[in-house]
């Protein structure tokens, strides 16, 4: 967990200013061949990243997680919303501004097979990044900088890796090179878009532990994008759960995973395989994520939600605070007379294992 909570040093006030803050982030993609139709990929998402903190963004494929990463990295323009770096507007318009921004916010991609140029050695890949971000280093200085980077991502002895081509490295080693390349910029924010999902199961934890270690030593803020909520619990301090382009629940990872409040989060947790607890399964759940071209009115989860009422079908819920540091976008937690009565999602979805039998 974050070490900053108990630290009352003067630096604490500086910590309160988030490194990166997005408010009302929205991205609509035009649909080809249909005038005026748009895909509501991301709608009205607020996100804050603090120094030395890992925030996980969890959701199924198509829920807009990667779009958020690309918006935060400013790889594409946003439809609406604002982006602040240390409290100041960070919108970049020109190349020079973008270069400066990239020096502070770096991204790691999902596929280490695609994100490294196959015709260049590790040395070349890293020296490009070093020379762009750390000035025109040459000779021994450059060499030392590259070695420092490789050591930082635990690729040592460095001489064994420095002259290798990407195809000579394993998936985990390639992802480490990609991380080293991002670290060359000495970034304050690392946007990690599913950094482990293409890797072998046995080496995934090694990469997560490396990122955790970098967070502790270099005090960077990390946005960890994943579809695996168990790894979010393991790695992230805070977790935000997305559904169909909106954030439906936020809070510290432990309480979001152990005591989910939004029906979707409950369904997600109840669906994850867990050999220790076969009885509490969301059996017989039906339906799938809606089309984002014409997303359902009101709460986007209402067509699948067993507790949905008329409010859910007409009005869009905003994030409602339910406990310290926890917020849920569900009318069930609103203070109004016509709110839906929430029950146990596992019960609502029909049968549990102990009832057994065919439906």
């Amino acid at each position: 967990m974050s070490t900053s909570a108990t630290d009352p040093s003067p630096a604490a006030t500086e910590r309160d200013v988030p490194v990166l803050r997005a408010v009302g982030l929205t991205k609509h993609f035009p649909v080809r061949g249909r005038r005026g139709a748009v895909v509501h990929a991301v709608d009205d998402v607020d996100l804050t990243l603090h120094r030395g903190e890992v925030v996980a963004l969890v959701g199924e494929s198509g829920s807009g997680k990667s779009t958020i990463a690309r918006l935060l990295a400013q790889l594409m323009p946003r439809t609406a919303g604002s982006l602040e770096l240390h409290g100041r507007d960070a919108t970049v318009r020109r190349r020079r501004g973008f270069r400066a921004y990239v020096g502070r916010v770096q991204m790691i991609f999902q596929d280490p097979f695609g994100s490294l140029n196959p015709v260049h050695t590790v040395r070349y890949t890293l020296s490009r990044s070093v020379r762009i971000h750390q000035g025109r280093l040459r000779g021994a200085e450059l060499e030392a900088a590259i070695e420092r980077l490789l050591e930082r991502v635990r690729l040592s002895p460095t001489e064994r890796y420095i002259d290798k081509f990407p195809h000579e490295l394993s998936g985990g080693q390639r992802q480490r090179v990609a991380i080293a390349r991002a670290l060359a910029a000495d970034p304050e924010v690392l946007l990690a878009d599913e950094p482990i999902s293409m890797l072998d199961v046995s080496i995934r934890l090694g990469i997560l532990n490396l990122l955790q270690d970098l967070r502790d030593r270099l005090d960077i803020a990390i946005l960890y994008i994943t579809h695996d909520i168990a790894s979010a619990r393991y790695f992230a301090d805070r977790t935000a759960v997305m559904y169909a382009g909106r954030v439906v629940e936020t809070g510290d990872s432990e309480s979001v995973t152990q005591d989910p409040r939004h029906p979707y989060t409950q369904l997600l947790i109840g669906s994850a395989p867990d050999p220790d607890d076969l009885a509490t399964r969301a059996h017989g759940a039906r339906g799938e994520a809606p089309s984002l071209v014409d997303p359902p009115a009101g709460c986007r989860f209402h067509p699948r939600c067993p507790f949905a009422t008329d409010v859910c079908r007409t009005e869009t819920p905003t994030l409602i605070e339910v406990a310290a540091g926890r917020a849920v976008a569900c009318w069930g937690y609103a203070d109004r007379a016509d709110r839906p009565r929430l029950g146990d999602v596992l019960d609502a979805y029909g049968r549990r294992t102990d009832e057994g039998g065919t439906p």
Binding site: V201, S202, T257, I269, D277, A285, P359
Partner: protein
Amino acid sequence: MTASTLDVPAPTGAVGEPVLEIENLSVDYGYVDDATHVLRDVSLTLHRGEVLGLAGESGCGKSTLAYAATRLLPPPGLITSGSVHFTDRDGRRTDVLRQSDAELRASRWRDTAIVFQGAMNSLNPVYRVGRQIADGILAHRPGMRRREAWDQAASLLEMVGINADRLRDFPHQLSGGMRQRVMIAMALALDPQVLIMDEPTTALDVVMQRQIVEEIADLRQRLGFSVVFITHDVSLLIEIADRIAIMYAGDIVEDAGAEEIYRRPRHPYSSALLHSFPPLRGERRELTGIPGAPPDMHRLPPGCPFAPRCAHAMDVCREVRPGLTATALGDRGAQEAARRVACHLHDPASAGAHGLPPDLSR
């Protein structure tokens, strides 16, 4: 589900007898001098009505094993030795590796059906899904009328929980989960006895994964086929499989009941693999994963392929490749005696004074 109205043949053949017996199967990629041995003397038996999980990391040979056993292995894959026997519902035993092309063609899909990895892309995008199912049925039932085949396709779709009016949809009109269901419906069209599923849920999110897995469990109960379920997600396997075989670098390293593997792993790799998944519930603890990386199959070290990454490796592990044998704890009852593990720690002669480490002898 609407499927309960469907006319379903009662499961035949005694539960528990072997359906598919793979013995000492070896597969090479490439030719004589420069061959990579991707499977080395693998033996595995699938029993009737059983869900057998095949787990391991990418490149460990789990898909190769399934494709070799069905003779679907594309060149340069080459079966160099071993045998595969399939036993019919009436007890007729055929050697799959010696079948003629015509026999093979007839038995595929009817005896053994496969749901391929990335089923999303296995459907032909330019034909309606109904036609694709019907075509398959007609290829095996020459006398059948097209109308009948479409009707059967409709009931198959309903069996996997898709409305029959989706028959006239093209694959792109279906979501990923539905396409996966169509693939499963298609595989079940000829009432096969063995269903091989190669990472059927990898591309789906957990909610859909659970729906598909439940569907399979349900169908198996009603139709009585056996399943080989290939995945890298061991925690999913523990839930759905009766028995799990864990593979590493072209070998089966442990073969035991699902619950047994989870509670009491006997091979260091199984144990480490289980600890590579952060738990969703229970205590939050520091995990390490497995140091190192899976070996290069082209340059396998002598001895046990897991030895370089193994915390318990001994000298003998680096020299002699362990065979799949009984565990050192065979006196603990029938369940334990039925387990197989490939590890020198279970050989009293080589384990020496150390004996079994505590995490492998629970």
